[in-house]
């Protein structure tokens, strides 16, 4: 019932992932669909990765700010949305979907039969839930990875630390607060789905019988950085064990989300455990306060890189 612990055993067979770049190119050839804020921020991170190469950046509007940015970077672009991926599937080892939950579902219906794996950054919840700090090795060779939600990426690993060190805990709560300017119309209209997907991730990764998620959108100026608090109900707590686990987990997340920072170490008061993390974005395409968007693009890149490492074998891993 618990999501399997992080392990480094060899990955399962992967019928879906064909290695189009097995000719020694040394990088996975990826496509990005969706040229909004998330897609464009993702592009900048892909460009920095030695293991990934952006083959195509596709959206619907050839004059969008994202497409202009991609052109400046010399990346091939398209305004034909999903069509180029369907027409030439052999060009792509993997596709990131940064559109909307509704579009992501339609896109996956087209890409799945072509055997192109998808990393989905929308809350469509079509495939395996992926939180790199918790289950990266299970996320290789999957036909579809769901990157949960920003609050899930930030807080579920901490909730996992709580249940692993305090087995008596049966209720966990996550409160995510983001700057109003970083919460787009899609998240606003899908706020219930956001909460449901985050709660599903808590249940899946932590195995607690009861979980709750709260989302707060704060308009202050200058904008606040994304903040997440994890609460758990507990009368007795092994605080040293929890603090050690959280410290280790924060380090693990910082390897792929550099702006992830513990601002309130775990404490026990009034019958509850509480701890808070803050996320500053890398400021790639989005402002620094938009840590909520940064964490999800960082996590998606980490998942893609793990696939690249395994598929490209030792040569890529050593950079040779």
């Amino acid at each position: 019932m618990e999501a399997s612990a992080v392990s480094r055993t060899s990955p399962p067979p992967r019928p879906h992932l064909r290695l189009a770049s097995a000719d020694g190119a040394g990088a996975l050839r990826v496509g990005i669909i969706g040229t909004g804020n998330i897609g464009t921020d993702l592009l900048l991170k892909v460009q920095r990765s030695p293991l990934l190469e952006c083959e195509l950046f596709a959206g619907r509007n050839s004059r969008s700010a994202g497409i202009r940015k991609a052109r400046e970077l010399g990346v091939a672009t398209s305004d034909r949305s999903i069509a180029p991926f369907v027409e030439e599937p052999e060009r792509f080892d993997l596709v990131f979907d940064a559109t909307s939950a509704i579009d992501a579902k339609r896109h996956y219906e087209l890409l799945e039969p072509l055997g192109i794996p998808v990393i989905d950054l929308t809350p469509a919840k079509l495939g395996k839930l992926c939180i790199p700090a918790l289950n990266l090795s299970d996320c290789v060779g999957q036909p579809n990875l769901c990157m949960v939600t920003c609050g899930g990426q930030a807080a579920v690993p901490l909730a996992r630390c709580v249940v692993e060190t305090q087995p008596q805990v049966d209720y966990v709560e996550i409160v995510s607060t983001s700057a109003s300017r970083s919460v787009g119309p899609a998240t606003r209209i899908n706020i219930d789905e956001y909460l449901a997907t985050t709660e599903a991730a808590v249940a899946g990764f932590c195995g607690v019988p009861k979980a709750k998620t709260i989302l707060i959108v704060n308009p202050s100026s200058p904008p606040i950085k994304m903040q997440n608090t994890v609460f758990a109900k507990a009368d007795e707590v092994d605080l040293p064990a929890l603090r050690a686990a959280v410290e280790e987990m924060v380090g693990r997340i910082q390897r792929y989300v550099p702006g992830y920072r513990l601002v309130m170490a775990p404490l026990h008061e009034h019958g509850r455990i509480a701890m808070t993390v803050q996320i500053s974005g890398a400021g790639d395409y989005l402002p620094e306060y938009a840590g909520n968007l940064d964490i999800i693009t960082c996590a998606a890149v980490a998942a893609a890189e793990e696939n690249a490492r395994v598929l490209l074998g030792g040569s890529a891993a050593t950079g040779a």
Partner: protein, 354 residues
């Protein structure tokens, strides 16, 4: 004179004053008394509304469904109201529960600049033919223009009225009156006001809001509610009657309801104490009052410092987790100062010797 609709959230906002621990007998007796007084709407629930029972805000003694069902049984001439804030309350998990429990009227709230978070929830309830109002919270934090824009959004989603909440008890009368007048002009729907008493202006502000065109006013028995308390229902009803407004409420019966509330609900009558004044000046959500006092005591810091620090961080409703962070930082700062002072004392005699 105008017909004024009085909505009574004693059994919802009052829950803030007792850490959300209102019990069955209390809800039953007060609902019956409010029914006899014929207030228009009795709103019942956790202080932050549906789905808000949590470690973040406080765990309620009774579930949303239980609270609503108990009140429902006592209401024959009065509508049963439920409040919900998207981000806490979801449609399937929480609004459906309230519909099943027999709520007639829904108020869907958002921070005063974030009305678009309520779009799906308002339309969802309208599709189910419920009476629905939008609520803009912490209205002192938005410009009049922005408030009008947000109220118009709620109107476009189907809200039948918009309630301006002075959730921090921070409004000065002329600022409020200006905003209400502009909202009345900017929308085709009813405008309401919900006051808090941090600066002892709740009744005066409510009357000013009515003068500016508001037709819905919230009041709670003896002001039982978050922080320094709400607009006192029984005073509001009496003053509006004196001014010739028709609320449809029986004065003696509402006074009886207030007396009953004082006996059976209220642990300590709400008052504008020193911390409450600072809370109002800092413009911090009234619901923070109890947790700020407790945490300040536990961490050995001044609750007034905590309120001003929260005000500087521009926290809105629902960010109670920040109280811990702020209290800890203040405690650390005090400790640091103490150590510095100690160092200073150690250094001084050495200086004298040299």
């Amino acid at each position: 004179m105008a017909q004024i609709l009085i909505s009574d959230p004693t059994l919802r906002d009052g829950n803030h004053a007792v850490q959300h621990r209102l019990n069955e007998a209390q809800i039953r007796r007060y609902a019956a008394a409010a029914n006899a007084a014929r207030v228009a709407i009795v709103e019942v629930g956790h202080g932050n509304g549906l789905g808000a029972s949590s470690l973040q805000v406080g765990e309620a003694l009774l579930s949303d469904a239980e609270m609503l069902r108990i009140a429902r049984e006592e209401l024959s001439d009065v509508k049963l109201g439920a409040f919900g804030i998207p981000g806490f309350a979801t449609m399937r998990r929480d609004l459906d529960v309230a519909i099943d429990a027999g709520a007639d009227v829904f108020r869907v709230g958002a921070h005063c600049t974030e009305a678009d978070l309520t779009e799906r929830h308002i339309s969802y309830l309208r599709e189910r033919e419920k009476e629905v109002y939008g609520v803009l919270m912490m209205c002192h934090m938005a410009t009049p223009e922005r408030l009008c824009e947000e109220a118009r959004k709620m109107e476009s989603y189907g809200a039948q009225g918009v309630i301006v909440m002075d959730s921090a008890g921070a409004f000065l009368t002329h600022d409020l009156q200006d905003r209400i007048a502009r909202l009345v002009d900017a929308t085709q729907i009813a405008i309401g006001f919900h006051g808090h008493n941090n600066l002892c202006l709740a009744v005066a502000n409510s009357v000013a809001a009515v003068d500016a065109g508001a037709t819905i006013v919230d009041g709670t028995a003896r002001g039982f509610g978050a922080g320094a308390g709400n607009t006192e229902l029984e005073v509001l009803v009496a003053v509006l009657a004196e001014l010739g407004h028709d609320t449809g409420i029986d004065l003696y019966k509402v006074l009886d309801a207030a007396d009953l509330a004082e006996r059976e609900l209220v642990e300590q009558l709400p008052s504008t104490d020193s911390v409450g004044i600072v809370s109002g000046l800092a413009g911090v959500f009234s619901g923070y009052s109890k947790p700020v006092r407790r945490i300040a005591r536990d961490f050995g810091v001044d609750p007034r410092d905590v309120f001003f620090a929260l005000g500087r961080r521009e926290v809105i409703a629902g960010q109670e987790d920040v109280i811990l962070e702020v209290a800890m930082a203040l405690r650390d700062a005090v400790e640091e100062q103490r150590l510095e002072q100690q160092d200073e004392e150690i250094r001084t005699p050495e200086g004298d010797r040299s």
